[in-house]
Amino acid sequence: MARPILVDEADYIIVGTGAGGATAARVLSEAGCSVLMLEEGPHLRTEDRPTGLLDAMSVAVRDFGTQTTAGATPIPLLQGRLVGGSTAINSGIIWRMPENVRRQWIDEHGLDDLVDEAAMLRIYEQIEEELEVEVTGDDVLGGNSHKMADAAKALGLPGKPIARNARGCQGRSRCLQGCPHEARQSMDVSYVPRAMADGARLHDMCRASRVLVRAGRAVGVTGEVLDRRTRRSTGRFEVRARLGVIVSAGAVHTPVLLHRTGLRGLVGERFQAHPGSAVVGRFPEPVVMGYGASQGYEVPMRERGFKLESLSLPPEMLAARLPGAGSAWQERLAHLDCFAQWAFQMRMKAHGRVRPGWGEQPVVKFEPLPRDLAVAQEAMALLCEMMFAAGATEVYPGLGHLPEVLTDRSEVELVRTARLRRADFHFMASHLFGTACAGADPSRSVVGPDLQSHEVRGLYVMDAAVFPTNMGVNPQHSIMTVVWRAAERLANATRTTAAA
């Protein structure tokens, strides 16, 4: 094997710098452990994040958003691929783990200590303070969210402004391209630099291919160093872990790395997601999606299995979402200030599976169940109804076999009652879970309640892959809190061992 062009060593090697990896680095380095972070994507300074969507997506979004589930009706899986992971492209929405989910993890998966109520409360509060979480102010809600608030009020729905980690947001509506004011406290501007201030080191453009295991213990990571421009391999890296390896590559790539390391059992199983879709409405007056928080307002309908959110899009994506081609489309394009878009995300019951595929692309098998489609249809109908309630003159449901344009509220009934098939929906998913589930029972899980592999000592998984269920709310805060809990226990154990 060729000599590695990059070698290094630390107490803990962390693969991935998203919500999980960066939080683990923040906690472990503060505790005095030496930490080395590996990231497959680039480390971009805020001023170097491209503003144009074509460049921004090319650089920051994994495969330009074209990573999908397998099958005839693929679902795009949107993930960040840069330092900060998906936190560097999301809207910074902060939700604590719902109590029914926490109870389920305790009752069905034996995770009492991992999601201990008092410990989680303490960690939530600390993270919320450090990441400057606050409810989106009226001044930066923007027209898209204000319209949604109008609709919720008109229909008596339980809407509210979204809590985000973006104090000082100036409403530039550029979360996806990178907040130009660093108001959003994504990991690249918060926990990664904080960990580095505490001594952690970072190697970007390093794609891990395998965890090195010796005598049943994780001792390092090997992989490829990638060229910044072409992303082609320039050589091999090999980094050694004195105490442990933490895999935080996300619910799609973590199981692939574990699989390539030789772990089997339930690795890759129980993949879950919060797929969603969106409805666009046209208004007679300006909405100006270009101003305001990218996502500022939400209507939680968790008892019905979904959550509605305002979702502002860059002009490129909004334009693609408007129906038609030619003069009818061009007429709409000349009035891009008059559109609103709201989306739903749902807690799908379906389970899938992730496996390594040919080359770099994992194979993600995931197919919504008929009851999932029924919930999605209900959510779409409600969004259409809300658009009309807010005063939209045209509504675009984006569902196959239905009219592209609805012009009257009575037509919402078509959306509600149509016999829709799977191929009629246009889903996208960015909240991905499972594939290396945590649990007390080794026959039903991949890692234990301390997030350490049942098979390999010193190998930890710290990201949404350990979630035994999806949650129905945005997961970033829960990922960070669960990882924080596991990482501080790991740090304590390390200190105790060192003292002994």
Partner: protein
């Protein structure tokens, strides 16, 4: 892409928003359709890049399989191209709809990469955006992408 595919790409993507059409119409050569599509293909998965090429063939040969006419899309009038693309976007087969949507997204990437077109779309209405500055900052970012400060320490 083959030379033929590159010609098709320009003709098909331009077909979504014909020059001289009503509403937001780019001037001749204002949008770099081919550049946008090639960048999308480079940044996408191999499967998606292949899908974009398949989409191109489906759209370019749509007059044959959709209308039974021995033309390519590029040889049709601008209005005719837009009409066929609209039909493909609403096609009953999921794959045809989705692949055509990928082409449409590619066209949008090209259109709104130009601040002049973004300004005419009114997307940022009332925000006082300096479109010339947007243009120059976009160029700056593109240049910096190749030389962005890295943190990898290569050990020989």
């Amino acid at each position: 892409m083959l030379a033929m595919e590159r010609r098709w790409a320009a003709a098909v993507l331009e077909g979504f928003a014909p020059v001289g059409g009503a509403g937001l119409a780019p001037a001749e050569g204002e949008a770099d359709y081919l550049g946008a599509m090639e960048q999308m293909m480079r940044a996408s998965t191999r499967k998606a890049a292949f899908g974009l090429r398949v989409a191109l063939w489906i759209a370019a040969l749509a007059p044959v399989w959709l209308l039974g006419k021995l033309h390519t899309l590029g040889s049709m009038s601008r209005e005719g191209r837009a009409e066929i693309l609209a039909r493909l976007l609403a096609h009953r087969v999921f794959l045809v709809r989705e692949l055509t949507l990928l082409l449409k997204l590619s066209a949008c990437m090209a259109l709104f990469a130009r601040p002049s077109l973004r300004e005419r779309s009114n997307y940022d209405r009332g925000l006082g955006l300096d479109y010339e500055a947007v243009e120059s900052s976009g160029e700056r970012s593109r240049v910096h992408l190749d030389v962005v400060a890295g943190s990898s320490e290569e050990v020989a």
